[in-house]
Each structure stands twice: as structure tokens, then as C-alpha cells.
Amino acid sequence: MKTIKNIIITCCVFMAITGCDKGFEELNTNPYAINDLDPEIIFANTQVTLSFGSWEGEATIAQYFQNAYDLGATSGFQFNENNNNFNQIRWGNYGDPIKNLVQGLENISDDPSKTNLKSMMRIWKALIFMNMVDTHADVPYSEAGRAYLDSNYTPKYDDDAVIYEDLYKEIKEASAALNPTADIVTADLIYNGDVTKWQRMANSLLLRLGMRYSKVNPTKAASIALEAFNAGVMQTNADDCVLFYNDLYTNEMNEISGNNPRFYYLEEPLINRFQLTDDPRSTYISGKYPDPNDVLNTPPDVTLAEQQGFPVGYSDFTAADLPDFPGTKGTGLDYSQPNYFALFSTLAPRFFITNSQTKLLLAEAAFRGWIPGNAQALYVEGIKASMDQYDLYPGGYGAISVTDQDAYIADAEVAYNATDALELINTEYWVSNVNNPLEGWSNFRRSGFPALSPNPYNGGLTGDGFVHRAPYPTQESGSNPDSYTAAGIAIGGDNLTTRVFWDIP
């Protein structure tokens, strides 16, 4: 009995004395968690998670592709609708790589042994933000990704031109800091840590950045282009910034083949251009399936003459009234669909920055006299470089032969002439960027080529009739309302027709 009494009393006293919070700090740590991670691993991850956009997004605006059905959730740019489902795609996916890059850079900020890693991360971050600005104009930049570091939960949106200024500085500085004798970033999935290739990639990105100024500030464009050119841009396709996928990590943009592939068709301007120029790239891009909703079981018929693009400004319903309506097939329509075995395969590589883009930009710069060089030669090299990319696509179609390449370049519609140089170069840029639709759309906005017709749906859009930016996701009005509202005012209206700073009429 005494014992029990003592136990009870001891318990009471024990609680009273130790009752506070002894050992809580240790208790509140997860013994199974990773508290620190090699920043290279974090960097490599951001190479995979960078958002490439979507077919129903910029690829639709650039008139490569469309979902033909007007069903509410699927009605977006193809019907001149401001549909949040498509506005938010890049936005919704950039937080993760930005957070990791910002935190990763913070973690190694005072580590001199990580010079190259730091530079690569800065360049990669610059690429992401350039994509963001090109898509949305003003975006959070200086305060982005810092919720944990600064408790900044409502980052302000920075002016798009100001961001570009900083991107210029970032790319320059980071590129200059790259040092072949410093750390080797073996985790790098794209160049395996090759510093020279990173420098070329950075300079090609700088060239792209510079050329964006061609309308708004030609002097600046010329100066940056020359700067990039002199610093050394990509030389061959071996310099391409490209990510190859595998069974475990796939090209998510191409997952549209999973459900309802009958929704998706290639647009008339692209198919018409292919047919006009007899473009051998068409094989990898366009085809017709026996059943538009069953696209993975058998490869499509890629015969170029059989292709027909879906008319811009129509839906499945309104297209049926057109004289050249090819009719329905199975549950879908008898228009050309994406080739899911090649360029639209989930194993298709993703080209971020390429030799082909670089050559074509240089061709324009040379034509304008901003850099030394032969515009025509660069134009041809750019086309060939684009065609050479196709060897890397799955589907077993092989490489585009030199004969075919030469035949294409000799085509009357393609052959270089100085009078139409800007149109030719930039139309080629548009065709060659089917695999990078944001770049195709951006360059179209910058250069005005190719000469696409605006989408007349819903009475057309104001201005020149084209979508010039993706509006901010409506979620921002809930999660960052003040900054969102301010940004909408700053850019002159959060709608489809507002222009990014470099995009002037």
C-alpha cells in the first residue's frame, strides 16, 4: 500500500518538476528527414521540373495546334477565351524550380568551391524568368521563391523591362564566372558539367534576350547581340541545350495522348506551310490515325499530301459548315493530328535553347548588320540545324537526309533572298520552333512573322487580333491580391491583348 502511495506521489512530483518542455526540441525533429542536400542534386532536379508550357497554351496561340472542342474547360486561346486552365500552366509549375534554385543558391552563397554550380543555377534561373516574362509580362522576380528565406508570402511583381535588365546582368555575370578549372558539376543532366557548352548556351540565351529588343530598342538589341556573338554562342547541334527523357521521367507536355486525343489537331497554317514547302519535318509532327481517339496503338499516316490542318477560328461544330470539311472519323474529326510517335511522344526530347535558334537569330542580326557574318549562310545553317534535331526523336523515322534538306532549302518558298530576308528567317524560326512553342510565339510577336491571320473567334480580339500574353492565374487574386491588382494596372490591363514590354506594334 505504501508503495502505491509513493508511486502516486512520485508521479505527481515528477510531472510538476519536469512538466515543462524538456527534450521537446529534439522531439520535434524528424530522425528520418534529410536536413541538407547536395545542391547539385537540387540543380539537376530543376532541369527536369522547368515548365515548358503546353500545347493548348502558347502552341495554340502560335497557331501550331488546337483543341477543336468548345466545352468550357477546354475552351481557351483557340476561341479567344481567357481561360484560367491554360493561363496558369507555366505559372503553376515555376514555383517549385524557383524555390529550389533560390534556396540552393542561398545554401552555397558563400561557398567558393561551387563557382560553376552557382553560375549554372543563375543561368538556369534566368531562362525560367525569361520564359515567365515572355508569357505574362510583369511577374514576381526579385521577391519570388523567398517565402521561407524572408517570410515574404506576397512577392511584388517586378516590371518586365526591369527584369530583363537584371536577366542581362545575371547571364553576363554567371557566364563570365564559369571557369573550366573550377568545380565540375557532374549532376548536370544537360551538359554533364561541360563549362564551355554552358558558356555557349548562356551566350545564345543572351543573344535571344538581345534580339527581343529589336523593335523596342534596336540599338540595345544590336549591342547585346554583338556582345553575345563575340562571347561565343552555340556552334553545332552538339551545343544544343536539350534534355532527353526516359521511362521514368517523361516529356509531360506530350501527355495529351492519354485521354481524349480526339480533341487535338494541328492547325491549318502549320500544315499549309508544310505542304507549301514540302517540309520533311512534317513526318515527325503530323499524321492521321485510323481512329482519332486511338493514337498510340498504330503509327499515323504521315503522307504529307494526306494532311489537313484544322482551320483557325473554328470549332468542331462550326468547321463542319466549311466547304473543305473533311468529315468526322470515329469519335473525332478527319484533320491532321500530332504524331505521338515522334515529336509528340512522351519520350521526345525537349529543346530549350538550340543551335538552330541561334543561327537564325544570328542570320537576322547579320542581315540587320548588327553582327558580322553572312545572313544567308546562317539562315541555311539554321534550317539544317533544325532538321538535324529530328534524328533525335523517337519513332524510327531516322534522320532527315542531306538531300531532303537541300531540296527544302532550294524550294522557292524557302530559298533566301534579301528582300524577304526578315520574313524568311522568322518564318523558318516559327517552323523550327514547333518543338518550343513559347519561343515560336515570342518570336512571332517580336518579328511579326510569319504572316499569320488573327483568329476571328468571338468577334476577334482588339488590337491586331492576336493573343499577346497569357493573363495571370486567377488564383493570384486570392493568394496575392494586392500585388496582383497592382500588376494588372502596371501592365495596362490583365488581359489577352496587353503586350510584354519588348512587344510593340
Binding site: 510531472m15 518542455d21 522531439l27 517549385d96 496503338n297 461544330f317 511522344s345 496575392n480
Partner: protein, 1114 residues
């Protein structure tokens, strides 16, 4: 046989007859605890009663007492015989005991003063007692609720007595926090007991569902989500913002546990409702259920009880009772209710045309925008020609089956001089209405009380539950789950076609039935291939040691142990919603297979040192105690993503594999003290103080101290009124600290590695999407309430009114962040919220005669919330977005408005209020950032009305309940309109503009008719125009009719060995008397959480349930 000063105490506790032998001291305490309970004291020797520790909480009605009177008398007699009391020289006294209205009183104790000789009155108030040997004998007449009367025999042989009702004795003893029993008159706050018999007669698979409309202020919403579903339980409103656990604490035999809702909540990615912790309980094991409302009542449980507490005591037998066996068998049938009233005039198709080819039919199955039904054979998705008519209009009833639930339980109980026990086993087997949903449950329960020595007692409660929940239905989402398909497909297609033609041999996948192939999944294809098997084992154990140092000081130590383990196996089969069996990388068959093993341990250890003393008119109870609450959860999972061999579900068969280990541990330490002061029986004061330390918070910010103070004033003691039996005024204020909503380790940034390497390169990054916040502090919920209790006209009219105000300050909310911050959310101390309300209980017995009683109990609660403060930056907080890939609307908190505002964009109107359309007739919406509030998703009014009619052995219960004042966004209405299914979609099919007074923007030109109604209504979704899809969620339901026949009396008359036999039949969900939302039961909701509140997204149809129960006791 008995010692000289041993006395016999016989108590009726419901149907349990307790006979206790008690010794000399502590008469007062004993008497009080019995007299103030609603148990009936049958016979005592008043001189020498001492304490006893049984639980006296159950209200025992007069009618039940009557039923039991005879058997009691028999027991009483046996006891007396045992006691070897002599009745040698008999003088017989007889008489009748009545109340002031000359109504005979049954069960009145008649005791020969200074002896143990006594009897009780029978049904007619008659008694007969043999006396003899005493000098100047007198009889003492006592009965609970009446003043005790002493009458001198003085040679009389007939003594008729009239007893007057007493006031204080009407009071009950309730179990309050920490299992401490208190007389309810002492309490400054509202408590309400639940009639546990009703839980048994109108039983549901989850005990919580039976509580709907039963307790004022207790708002229960049973989602319609399967046989093993959870409930949403809110007491006095939703006291905190989403993210905290807003359900009341559940305390089973002193073991506190969260409701543990595992409901369907798309926000957290769950589409299947996997039940909650109340489903671990067998209603037959429940002895009492008390609801402690509000923060005050629960101040001593600490933060976990900031939303009040439901205190459940399970049976543990009674002392000196002998062995008893009870068998209960119950069977329920659930019939499907179909509230749809879809149009049957127009058939499948688009733009006024029926499908012309099989392909068109397979691409338009979701649309009813075709031609008028004419019975002409028309091709369908499977190529078969069928009459163009509404062949599928009974789809809901054709797809779902009649559900059933069978429960059998056996209980064995007994008690000796020093202890008692009860053990039970129950088995439930339920088939859900969803054809592959089954739920099985086995529960073993043991309760044990033992006096180890005179001063030391032990009680032990163990509950072990084994649950199998097979295929809890997927609800509340697009995509998988039958409801989404059944409520949206064209009625032209018969159910049999979906069943027979679900497989496409050419593609080896699900046959396409609609243009939304990926999101409208044919359940017949899915159900043959999918499985989701959930197994759960749960062990609850409580051991309490209590030691009485002396008659004013005791110590108690207790350990609660709650261990659960679950195993989950699930797949996602190949070929669902696609023509493509391969995954997109074409490297394997699409699909997934996962197994998951979780274990959770909750340990609660507490001690209490208590004293109680009386000093003249003053009484003092004072206690100090402490508590350690620890949790540890571990979750190990493994899965396969895409298969190398088709249809082989094994982890090794994955193209890619995933695995994870989840771990969390938390601890809360607490110290507390509380005191009760009493003055006479008139004034009482309660005060508590508690300090908590939370492990999940930063060590510099982890301590919180909080007090409560309350009191009661029994003013009826001061008033001599003929009609007022009892009157009490109560008031209280309490503050409760909480770290609710903060997860373990949430202040620390961690990293994680991807499961699979990228070509040999490991990838990783910051773990999770929540930005760690190490600067969180505990928040508080404070509550004040005043209440009035009146018992009038001899307790025929009872009234309880409570007014309360509950304020949550600086709650920790998981704030959704903009993606641009890098994270998706972060916990912050930023929400303040107030709930104000009134609760009203009126219990009237209009008729009470010998054979017939009519009792009518009405309860209603009004609760209105107001958001007081959000972040410094914004008065608005987005809780959930139902738009995007869902359908429509948002859920907001808005400062100055009630919680949970449903919002959507609305029509763009001109200055005259006319709806604006574009040149094509399509409606225009306000800007994407201009969302309009349509009202709060939470009901303001909840309540119920129970009428109980008892005629002799037959009783009839009719229960109605209601909710009012909330709103709902219906995606069924939206989809029905845009897909041409609802009656509303008939407007405009004749080529007129669907909205009559709409005009083209900026003009007076009447709106032109849109060329395509499907596109026109798709625009409503696209533009998030909510107006036509928002309804009141109000309803009045005739919830339950239950009939019970008690044959115990008849059996007794026949001296059967069967002691009790009751038969009952009940119907649940008899009728909806009022509702606003079309095509659905207003309770057909998928989620029991706080983030999808007010969002209707197709769920299982509700059911009408028929239950038969037999209860036999030997």
C-alpha cells in the same frame, strides 16, 4: 452473514439492478451522488451509507421504473432473505403512495426506520410491509425527485401517503472533464446527455450518424459516401478556420481522441471516405454519452477540446449483480433514394441532332442536346440501335443495390462484492449500396472495476476493433467513381448498355462512351478491375488507479493507450478512361498499385490529486493534476507505377517504383488545477487553470496558460413556487490555448530525394510545398456563455436556454501562398473568428397517465459566425478553388462576414440591372478578379424535434430534424445544365434566348439566341458564373420513426428465464419535408471536412434505412 452496520443499497440503473453492500462512513457523499443522479434509490438504510464508485449518470424514467418494479421487488426480497432479516412477528402495513395530483407513484421506497426492512410500491402505488418488534415504528417514504416523508405507524395498518416533489434531488450527476463526476447544478456551462437507447434502435454503421438533430448545437452531417463513412461533427459552429481539427474531442472512458476523420476531401487528394474514430464503437456498449458544449466545459482537456467534447462511457457491469447475458441482433436494409428529376423530353446528341454514327454516339454520350425522344431506333456508343427514348432514366436505382447491415452482439456482465465486469463482442457486416463496397467490423469490449483494497480501486476499459472497409466509394470528383458518371450521362442510353459493352476488345480498354472519356468513367469497366482494401485494427485501453487516502483526499493515476494500425492495398487498373492501354511513355501498361502500412500511437498519462471538504454551509473541492499526451505516427508505403505484366498487381511488377516513410511525433505536457466552491445548495463557483507546453512549436513560444471561471445560482432554492421545481442560472468564461493545426517538425526545412533516378542521377529538392514557419505561437479560443435551466410543473416542462459567444484569436491557419513565393502554403497566426449563438431545449410531457405517456423534446440552435481578422495584408482569404479542373466557385473567408462564403463570378449587368451578352448571345461575366459572395456555406439553424409516445409496453419515436441558413454550389446543377440533362436545360431549345431580359452589351438590343446551347452553358463554367447553380442547403427531414415493443413485463409474469426482450423497428430518412436544391438530397455531400463545405459534387445517393433489432437478456 452481514456485519452489523452493513447496509444494503439497491439501485436501478436503467435495466441494471445494482445491489451494493456498503459500510459505515461517508453517508453524505453516497447519498448525494445517488440522489443527484437520475438513478433510483430503492432501499437504503439512511443512517449508515458510505461512498460508492459506480457511475450514476443515466436518466431512468418513471415508466421504465414501472416496468422494472416487479423484478426489483423480487430482487429486493431475495436480498433481504440473504441478509437474514427476520420478519417473525408480523404486523402488516399496507397503503398507497401518490403524488400531489393523486397519481400513484411507483417504485417509492418504503423503509422501516432504523432497520433494513423495506419494500417498494408497485404499479398502482401500493405497498405492503411487515413490521414487528420495534417500539414506536415509523416508515420512511422516499423516491427520487420527491421529498422524503416519515410517518409514524402508531398502530395503523393502512398508511396512505402523498409525496411532494423536491427540487434539488432532480439534479443529475454528469461526467465532466477528466472523468470527474459533478452534480450538474454546480456547473456554469451547458451539458446535454444523449438518449442512448435511440442509438440502438435506429442504429447506423457509425454511431455519430445517429446523433443528427438530437443535441442542441451539435451539427452533424453524414456525407453520403459509403457503408463505412465518416461524419462531419461541429459543436456550436465551426470554431476555427479550416486546417485545425474542428470536431469536438471524443473521450471514451477517459481516453481522449480526435474524431480522426478520414473523409473524402479532394483538397487533400482523398476521394474515398474511410470513416472516423466513432466507427470504432458499438452502440450497444455505450452506457452514457454526454456532450460538453463549448470551450468551457472542456477547459480541462486542454486544446484538443476547444470545440467541446463528447464524453462516452462504456458499460462495465455493476457490482453484486450476478452473471447476465445480453444478445442483440439488428438488421438494416438501405434502399436507394433517387431525387433526380431530369428532363426526358430530349435525347442524346449535340446541337439538336441525334448521333448518326457509332463514333458520334461514342463522342456525345455526355450530351442531351439532341432531338426530341421519338422512339426511332438510333445508334449508340456500342454500335447497337436502340429506340431513341429515355431508356436510362432509372439509372441511379439500376446501378446501386439495396444495401444491408447486420450487427450481432453478445455481452456478458457480472459483479461480485468487490468488483464488476462486462465484456462484449459484436460483429457488423454491411454491404454498401455501391456494388463493390463492403464493410465488416468486429469489436471486443471489456470493462472492469475492482476494489483491490478498501482504499485502492482499479478500473480497466479495453476496446479492440477490427475493421475491413472494401472499396469505399470514390465520390465528389470528376473522373473515377460511379456518381460522376451516373448523374451526367444522357438518359437515352440504357444502363444495361453500359454494363454489357464496357470493354472494347479492339483497344483492350474501356469502351468509349462519351466525349469526356478521361473524366466520365464507365463504372462497370472500373468496378470489375479496381480494388481499394482498407484494414484497420485499433486498440483502446484505459487503466485507472484510484487511492483514497482518507475521506477527503484522493489520488488518481491513469494511462490511456490508443494504438492503431492500418493496411491499405489499392490499384488503378489499366485502360480506364482511355483507348490506350499503354502509359504515355509506351514503356508499360498504364496504372498503379500501392500498399501502405500505418501505425499510430497515442499515449495519455495523467494524475490527479483531489480533496473535498465541507465547512458548514461551504463546500470546497480542489484538485491539481498533470497530463502528458504523446503521439507517434509512422507510415510506410510502396507502389508500382505502370506495369510490365498487365493486370498483375505486385510491387515488383512496376516499370517505376515509389516508396516512402512518413513519421511524426508530438507531445503536449500540461499542469492544471481546479476548484469548486459551494454555498449551501444555492451558489456554486468553478475555476480552472491550465498550462500547456507544445512540442510542435518553437521552444521559446511553446507555453500557454489559460483559465476559466464559472458559476451557477440555484434560484429555485430561494423561491417557494408551486410550479417551479428547479431553476438555475449559470454563467461562465473560459480561455483555451491551442496549437491545433501545427504538424510535427513543421518549423524545419527538410529535403527529399525523388524515388527514381534520372539516368542514374539522383534528383531531389526541398521536401513538400509548405514553407516552414518557426515563429508560430499558440492561439486561443475563449468562450463565454450564460444559461438558464427551468423545470416546471413537476418536471413536465423543462427548458434549457444557453447564449454563448466563442472567439478564436490568432488561429494558426495554413495560408495558401502564391506559387511565386515558391511554396503552396505556410502556417501563420492570423485568423480571428467569432461564433455567437443561442441554444434552446424544450422538453415537455403533455400527457402522462398510467398507460400512456407522450414526451415531446424540441431543440434548436442558432449559430452565426463572423470573421474578425485575417492577415494584416488582406481582409480576404481564399480557402478553396472549386473552379479550374473542377467546376465552379470558390470558398472564402471575408472579414466582417460569416465564415465560409461561397463565391463565384456573376452576370455582367448594365445600369438597369439587365444581364449583358455579347453579339453572339453569350452571357458576359464580371471580371476574373471580381467574385461575388453568395452566402455562407454553414447553416445558421440546426435542430430537431423528437416525439416519444409510450403506451404500455409499446413506444413510438418520431424524430424530425432541420438545418437552415446555409448555401451550396451544385456542380450537378451546372453539369446538368451544360450537358442538357436538367429541366432548366429545356429553356431555349425552341431557338429563343435563354435569358429573357438580357441585352447585348451596351445596347438595348435583346439578346440573340445562342447558336449552340451546349457552348452557351459551357461559357457559364468557363466564366465561373455561379448564379443559376447556388441554392439554399436548407432542409427539414422526417428522419426517424421507431417502434419498440418491450416484452419484459410479460416474460416476468411468466417467470421466464429470459429477463428482457425488446423488439424494435425503425425507419431512417423517412421523408424530406422541405428542400431547395433540385435533383439531390441536400445531404448528398461528399466531404466531412471544412475546405469543401458548400460544394456539391456528385456523391452516392442517400438511402432510406429499415432496421429491426432484437434485444434479449438472460
Amino acid at each position: 452473514m452481514f456485519k452489523k452496520n452493513t447496509n444494503i443499497l439497491l439501485i436501478i440503473k436503467k435495466n441494471i439492478y445494482t445491489c451494493s453492500l456498503v459500510n459505515h462512513k461517508n453517508y453524505k457523499m453516497m447519498w448525494k451522488s445517488i440522489a443527484n443522479s437520475k438513478d433510483h434509490l430503492i432501499s437504503t438504510n439512511l443512517k449508515t451509507i458510505k461512498s460508492m464508485e459506480s457511475k450514476f449518470t443515466i436518466y431512468c424514467s418513471q415508466r421504465r421504473l414501472m416496468r422494472n418494479a416487479i423484478i426489483l421487488r423480487t430482487i429486493m426480497f431475495s436480498v433481504m432473505m440473504l441478509g437474514a432479516f427476520g420478519f417473525a412477528h408480523a404486523q402488516t402495513v399496507t397503503g398507497k403512495v401518490t403524488d400531489a395530483n393523486e397519481v400513484p407513484l411507483t417504485g417509492v421506497n418504503v423503509l422501516l426506520k432504523n432497520t433494513s426492512t423495506g419494500t417498494i410500491t408497485d404499479f398502482d402505488g401500493q405497498y405492503q410491509l411487515q413490521i414487528g418488534g420495534q417500539t414506536s415504528p415509523s416508515l420512511i417514504f422516499s423516491s427520487l425527485g420527491y421529498e422524503t416523508k416519515e410517518v409514524s405507524v402508531a398502530g395503523k395498518t393502512i398508511i396512505n401517503v402523498t409525496l411532494n416533489e423536491s427540487a434539488s434531488a432532480l439534479d443529475e450527476v454528469v461526467i465532466t472533464a477528466l472523468g470527474i463526476k459533478k452534480e450538474s447544478k454546480k456547473l456554469g456551462y451547458a451539458v446535454e446527455s444523449v438518449q442512448v437507447e435511440d442509438l440502438q434502435s435506429s442504429r447506423t454503421n457509425n454511431v455519430g450518424s445517429s446523433l443528427v438533430g438530437k443535441v442542441a448545437g451539435l451539427d452533424i452531417s453524414p456525407p453520403s459516401s459509403g457503408a463505412g463513412a465518416s461524419n462531419k461533427i461541429r459543436l456550436r459552429g465551426q470554431s476555427s478556420f479550416a486546417g485545425a481539427d474542428n470536431a469536438p474531442l471524443i473521450v471514451i472512458n477517459g481516453l481522449p481522441m480526435d474524431q480522426g476523420n478520414r473523409g473524402a476531401d479532394m483538397i487533400n487528394g482523398n476521394t474515398r471516405d474511410r470513416g472516423d474514430n466513432l466507427s470504432n464503437l458499438n452502440p450497444d456498449d455505450i452506457e452514457s454519452m454526454t456532450v460538453l458544449k463549448g470551450a468551457t466545459a472542456a477547459a480541462l482537456y486542454g486544446s484538443r477540446a476547444a470545440n467541446g467534447a463528447i464524453i462516452i462511457t462504456t458499460k462495465s457491469g455493476a457490482k453484486s449483480q450476478g452473471i447476465g447475458v445480453e444478445l442483440i441482433s439488428s438488421s438494416t436494409t438501405n434502399t436507394v433514394l433517387d431525387f433526380t428529376n431530369f428532363q426526358t423530353e430530349y435525347g442524346q446528341g449535340t446541337n439538336g441532332q441525334r448521333p448518326a454514327t457509332q463514333g458520334q454516339a461514342a463522342g456525345t454520350g455526355q450530351f442531351s442536346w439532341g432531338e426530341k425522344h421519338d422512339g426511332v431506333p438510333t445508334v449508340q456508343f456500342d454500335g447497337v440501335l436502340r429506340p431513341y427514348s429515355a431508356l436510362g432514366k432509372n439509372r441511379i436505382k439500376e446501378f446501386y443495390r439495396t444495401g444491408s447491415a447486420m450487427t450481432n452482439s453478445i455481452a456478458l456482465s457480472g459483479g461480485g462484492a468487490n468488483g464488476s465486469f462486462r465484456t462484449s463482442f459484436s460483429h457488423t457486416q454491411a454491404k454498401g449500396i455501391d456494388p463493390i463496397n463492403e464493410y465488416r467490423r468486429k469489436i471486443v469490449n471489456l470493462g472492469l472495476n475492482q476494489n483491490i483494497t478498501e482504499k485502492l480501486s482499479l478500473s480497466l476499459n479495453i476496446n479492440y476493433t477490427h475493421e475491413n472497409n472494401d472499396n469505399p466509394p470514390q465520390v465528389g470528383q470528376q473522373g473515377q467513381g460511379a456518381p460522376n458518371f451516373l448523374y451526367r450521362m444522357s438518359q437515352t442510353i440504357p444502363t444495361s448498355a453500359f454494363r454489357e459493352s464496357n470493354y472494347n476488345p479492339e483497344t483492350t480498354t474501356e469502351r468509349q462512351t462519351s466525349g469526356f472519356q478521361g473524366t466520365l468513367i464507365n463504372p462497370y469497366y472500373l468496378y470489375d478491375r479496381i480494388f481499394y482494401l482498407d484494414t484497420r485494427d485499433r486498440f483502446l485501453g484505459t487503466a485507472t488507479l484510484r487511492y483514497e487516502f482518507n475521506d477527503w483526499l484522493y489520488a488518481q493515476g491513469r494511462i490511456n493507450y490508443d494504438f492503431s494500425t492500418s493496411f491499405n492495398e489499392r490499384n488503378n487498373p489499366t485502360g480506364v478512361g482511355t483507348n490506350n492501354p499503354l502509359n504515355n511513355a509506351q514503356t508499360g501498361f498504364g496504372g498503379s498499385y500501392d500498399v501502405e502500412n500505418g501505425t499510430g500511437t497515442d499515449l495519455n498519462a495523467d494524475f490527479l490529486l483531489g480533496t473535498n471538504k465541507e465547512f458548514g454551509d461551504f463546500s470546497v473541492d480542489f484538485s491539481v493534476g498533470g497530463n502528458i499526451y504523446k503521439t507517434k505516427d509512422r507510415n510506410v508505403s510502396a507502389g508500382a507505377r505502370d506495369f510490365i505484366i498487365r493486370d498483375l498487381y505486385s510491387i515488383g511488377n512496376g516499370v517505376a517504383n515509389v516508396q516512402d516513410l512518413g513519421f511524426a511525433r508530438t507531445q503536449v505536457n500540461s499542469l492544471y488545477a481546479f476548484a469548486d466552491l459551494g454555498y449551501k445548495n444555492i451558489l456554486f463557483l468553478n475555476a480552472t487553470a491550465r498550462n500547456d507546453w507544445y512540442s510542435v512549436l518553437n521552444p521559446d513560444l511553446n507555453s500557454y496558460f489559460y483559465p476559466s471561471v464559472g458559476g451557477s445560482f440555484i434560484f429555485s432554492e430561494l423561491i417557494d413556487s408551486s410550479w417551479l421545481t428547479y431553476g438555475k442560472l449559470r454563467a461562465t468564461y473560459a480561455d483555451v490555448g491551442s496549437a491545433n493545426g501545427v504538424n510535427a517538425f513543421s518549423g524545419i526545412l527538410n529535403y527529399s530525394l525523388n524515388n527514381n533516378a534520372f539516368d542514374g542521377q539522383k534528383l531531389g529538392g526541398i521536401a513538400g510545398n509548405v514553407s516552414p514557419n518557426p515563429f508560430l505561437t499558440p492561439f486561443s479560443v475563449s468562450e463565454q456563455e450564460i444559461g438558464l435551466e427551468l423545470r416546471m410543473f413537476r418536471s413536465r416542462v423543462n427548458l434549457d436556454v444557453a447564449v454563448y459567444e466563442k472567439t478564436t484569436t490568432d488561429q494558426i491557419i495554413n495560408v495558401d501562398l502564391t506559387q511565386t513565393s515558391g511554396y503552396e502554403s505556410t502556417p501563420q497566426n492570423l485568423g480571428s473568428l467569432r461564433n455567437r449563438g443561442v441554444e434552446f431545449i424544450l422538453d415537455v410531457t403533455p400527457v402522462q397517465t398510467d398507460n400512456f405517456t407522450w414526451n415531446s423534446a424540441f431543440n434548436a440552435a442558432f449559430n452565426e459566425s463572423e470573421v474578425l481578422k485575417l492577415s494584416p495584408a488582406s481582409d480576404q482569404f481564399l480557402v478553396a478553388e472549386y473552379g479550374g479542373n473542377e467546376f465552379l466557385g470558390r470558398l472564402y473567408y471575408q472579414v466582417g462576414m460569416p465564415l465560409n462564403q461561397l463565391a463565384a463570378r456573376t452576370y455582367l449587368r448594365d445600369a438597369q440591372g439587365r444581364i449583358q451578352v455579347d453579339n453572339n448571345g453569350n452571357v458576359l461575366a464580371t471580371s476574373p478578379s471580381d467574385y461575388k459572395y453568395f452566402g455562407s456555406a454553414l447553416p445558421k439553424w440546426t435542430g430537431g424535434w423528437t416525439n416519444n409516445f409510450t403506451y404500455k409496453n409499446l413506444s413510438l419515436l418520431i424524430h424530425t430534424d432541420f438545418k437552415a441558413g446555409g448555401y451550396v454550389i451544385s456542380s450537378t446543377a451546372l453539369n446538368g445544365l451544360r450537358q442538357g440533362l436538367t429541366q432548366e436545360s429545356l429553356v431555349g431549345r425552341d431557338g429563343s434566348a435563354p435569358i429573357l431580359d438580357a441585352v447585348i452589351q451596351g445596347t438595348d438590343t435583346p439578346a440573340p439566341a445562342p447558336t449552340n446551347l451546349a457552348s452557351y452553358y459551357a461559357g457559364f463554367r468557363n466564366n465561373q458564373i455561379g448564379d443559376p447553380f447556388i441554392f439554399k442547403s436548407d432542409f427539414i427531414k422526417l428522419r426517424t420513426i421507431a417502434l419498440t415493443y418491450d416484452m419484459s413485463g410479460i416474460l416476468r409474469d411468466q417467470n421466464s428465464f429470459v429477463k428482457k426482450l425488446t423488439l424494435s423497428a425503425a425507419i431512417r430518412n423517412v421523408a424530406i419535408l422541405y428542400k431547395d436544391i433540385p435533383n439531390l438530397d441536400p445531404e448528398a455531400f461528399a466531404s466531412s471536412g471544412d475546405t469543401r463545405v458548400g460544394y456539391e459534387q456528385t456523391t452516392l445517393p442517400t438511402t432510406r434505412d429499415f432496421t429491426f433489432t432484437v434485444n434479449v437478456k438472460f
